[in-house]
């Protein structure tokens, strides 16, 4: 017969909310989003996913902060391959700033491996910056991947503080942003497809008119031939403009930082 449940639950998630993250509204100034955040597009479009959650760790703040540095390895971290501190300093106001480098396995579903074969071979490098403030009993962390970022960028911000309802517990507020430059590529494909379709409609209509006129006994006048030439030129211009816009969208969607893979 089953015995106890093992570890008593030390973490309770109070609530979580996830949503599509729209256009420039969520994107912070600085980093990838600077210009986009300032420029307002004609309509917001979903740029990624945003999730926020609030939870409680059943331990006092100092124990939680100490545990933070001793997290790896644990039975649930088999996907974490290496852990290193690459920067650390104590500030004048007694805060600990640290940067931790993690490498993790890059597990993708089979369909993703087929689509992105170049990414399969590379582990994911992740940086976790943190500020521990023992005077205020808070810790803030920011974690993000520094490769594979064009394919998918995940950023997470956590704030740990003493649980206001129970001072022997610690509250964790977690926010995550998941985005992909593939959104920009699909928008570019749509824009191009629409522009090319429109120019084909012009050609199709003009062609129809031409043949009809001929059937109705009108000689294909110079005017008609010129109109056909004009239509072709206009169609070329529209397609060119669409290609430029599409290239522009696609390159804006790609990140500006130096990226791996």
């Amino acid at each position: 017969m089953g015995g106890g449940r093992g570890l008593r639950r030390k973490y309770v998630r109070a609530r979580r909310k996830c949503a599509a993250w729209e256009g420039a509204a969520w994107r912070p100034p600085g980093g990838r989003g600077t210009e986009r955040a300032r420029r307002r597009g004609p309509e917001p479009e979903p740029m990624g996913k945003y999730c926020a959650s609030l939870g409680v760790l059943k331990g006092p703040w100092d124990q939680v902060f100490a545990a933070f540095w001793q997290r790896y390895p644990n039975p649930y971290s088999k996907h974490v391959l290496t852990e290193d501190i690459v920067h650390r300093e104590v500030t004048a106001d007694h805060k600990l700033l640290s940067r931790r480098l993690l490498t993790k396995t890059n597990r993708m579903p089979r369909w993703a491996e087929r689509f992105f074969p170049a990414n399969v071979a590379h582990s994911v490098y992740i940086l976790e910056d943190s500020i521990v403030d023992p005077k205020n009993r808070t810790m803030t962390t920011f974690t993000w991947n520094i490769n594979h970022a064009r394919l998918m960028a995940v950023e997470e911000r956590c704030v740990y503080r003493v649980n206001p309802e129970n001072s022997s517990w610690t509250e964790v507020k977690r926010e995550a942003w998941v985005s992909s430059s593939l959104f920009g590529v699909s928008r570019a494909v749509q824009e191009f497809g629409l522009a090319r379709f429109k120019s084909n409609v012009t050609k199709s209509t003009k062609g129809f008119e031409y043949v009809l006129a001929r059937m109705q006994g009108e000689a294909p006048s110079k005017t008609l031939v010129e109109t056909a030439k004009e239509a072709t030129e206009k169609a070329k211009e529209t397609a060119l403009a669409a290609t430029e816009k599409a290239k522009d969208l696609a390159s804006k969607a790609a990140t500006k930082k130096k990226q791996f893979v």
Binding site: P28, F65, T82, V86, L127, D129, T140, I146, N147
Partner: protein, 76 residues
């Protein structure tokens, strides 16, 4: 836990042990005297920064908490 530089794992462990003790017994209690782990940290960093360069891991030039600038911050 392994270091990204295979040769650095032992140095990392020594440093981690020192750090964890200092962190819980001194730093969290507000005591900022001394840097008992300074030497160990230097040795560990020499090793790991070299490994990072060799593996071409792109950690250079990234602002601390960089991409998060502008995200609403709780006052600390």
């Amino acid at each position: 836990m392994n270091s990204v530089g295979e040769a650095c794992t032992e140095l990392k462990r020594e440093y981690d042990q020192c750090f964890n003790r200092w962190f819980a017994e001194k730093f969290l209690k507000g005591e900022s005297d001394g840097d008992p782990c300074g030497q160990l940290f230097k040795r560990y960093q020499l090793c790991v920064q070299k490994a990072i360069k060799e593996k071409d891991i792109p950690i250079e030039g990234l602002e601390f908490m960089g991409p998060s600038k502008g995200k609403a911050e709780d006052s600390s």
